[in-house]
Amino acid sequence: METYYDPADLAKFSTIGEEAPELWQQFMAYYGAVFQEGALSAREKALIALAVAHTVQCPYCIEAYTQEALEKGSNQAQMTEAIHVAAAIRAGATLVHGVQMKNTANRLAF
């Protein structure tokens, strides 16, 4: 069945660099540096990446960072809590925009 997302396409990611190689190289250098052990551990960064992957709903990223989080020593309980953090922020962001709704409604109402 044809789908927009094909797991095999992840291996073609580098072809994005074909038309703009300098930008691609800069992106890759930046990407690599971001995930180096730093003030945050590699395990913490993998959990953040996993949570963000869920908020941007990227199936490639979810698959890659599920494996990465496991390989950095996290278990499913920790990974599930990480995506709850992302979900809570998304939910909170949705609800806090309700203030905009209320401001507008109150302005229009008697």
């Binding site: 496991l70 278990n75 499913q76």
Partner: protein
């Protein structure tokens, strides 16, 4: 395919037949390490004294379990001790199965002790709660045996999923008991090491990082101390190979191992410093080769020849990618 009817050569062939996986021997030749030879002298004799086990772990490369009957005899153990003594091999590493289920274990440890050897036992901990074997922790402590204990994760759910219901709780009880016997106490000589292995088809984390997590949780929640944590990569052999095939993970896992190949690990793999002995006395470069039937020459402990075995060429296969991925893997954990 039914794993129970596979031969070792079937399994080697199955790994060789995967598409896109460069043969391991070719890979290390490119890295300038071919032929891979053992060091002289041999530092460790790793003796697998039987395949019987009280557990049936999902990753077990030995495919050990209660149904297995292979068990090393006193005669073969005697040959091993003779080789250790004659060749000044300092360390006897006892593995299985659950070594405790071999009725000759005490005889072997006492023999090693009388020779002044360093003896270590690889235990699953839970076996030591079986009343028949409950005296063994004190015996280990009295003999100064180093304990390498399997504990694949610091949580109950993850450990029990891999090793069976109740194993984590039993392991925690036994680790507490070993601590009380003097294991892993500050300034003491009794060593207690834990062994992590991944709960599926992925690589282990950085050893130092996950060791810190183990210490935090085991000390904080259970008051347990240990000396070191060893991370071991699951080798595509035995029951783990069956899991990889049945779950459709084999190709991807082998690609992961091969893509993580680290040339810096090659000179530090365990097969270079040890010799592995099967329950029937046959000789191998490592326990994984043992389960695949990839023998050394000479082929039996009774025919041991230091001249023939020193600087021997290691028998390689694509399963060797497991010991050279990332930080590498050995019975003593990461190698770089």
């Amino acid at each position: 395919m039914n794993a129970s009817v596979d031969t070792g050569s079937d399994r080697v062939s199955c790994l060789d037949a995967l598409t896109g996986i460069q043969p391991f021997a070719e890979k290390i030749r490119e890295a300038g390490c071919r032929p891979l030879k053992s060091n002289d002298p041999i530092r460790t004799l790793q003796v697998n004294i039987g395949k019987a086990c009280n557990l049936r772990c999902r990753h077990c490369h030995v495919e050990a379990g209660a149904h297995r009957t292979e068990s090393m005899s006193v005669d073969t153990m005697s040959c091993c001790l003779q080789v250790l003594a004659d060749n000044e091999i300092p360390t006897l590493d006892i593995t299985g199965g659950a070594p405790e289920l071999n009725p000759n274990l005490l005889w072997l440890i006492n023999g090693a002790r009388s020779l002044g050897l360093h003896a270590m036992v690889r235990t699953n901990l839970a076996v030591l709660e079986i009343p028949e074997y409950a005296y063994l922790p004190e015996f280990y402590a009295d003999c100064g045996v180093e304990i390498n204990a399997s504990l694949p994760y610091y949580s109950e759910k993850d450990t029990d999923r891999q090793r069976g219901p109740g194993v984590f709780t039993a392991s925690i009880r036994m680790l507490s008991r070993l601590n009380k016997l003097g294991y892993a106490q500050a300034g003491g000589s009794l060593k207690l090491n834990l062994v992590y292995n991944p709960g599926g088809a992925y690589l282990p984390p950085a050893q130092q990082a996950v060791e810190a997590d183990y210490r935090r949780v085991l000390l904080g929640q259970f008051g347990i101390r240990f000396n070191s944590l060893f991370t071991i990569t699951n080798s595509p052999v035995g029951r783990f190979l069956t899991f990889l095939r049945d779950s459709g993970n084999l190709q991807r896992y082998m690609e992961r191992l091969a893509s993580a190949f680290n040339p810096a690990t090659v000179n530090r793999v365990m097969c270079r410093d040890m010799l592995s002995v099967g329950w029937d006395g046959r000789l191998y470069d490592c326990d994984f080769n043992q389960m695949l039937g990839l023998q050394c020459l000479p082929a039996h402990i009774a025919e041991f020849s230091r001249v023939a075995l020193q600087e021997r060429e290691i028998v390689l296969g694509n399963h060797c990618y497991a010991c050279t991925a990332g930080a590498g893997s050995s019975c003593g954990g990461a190698v770089v």
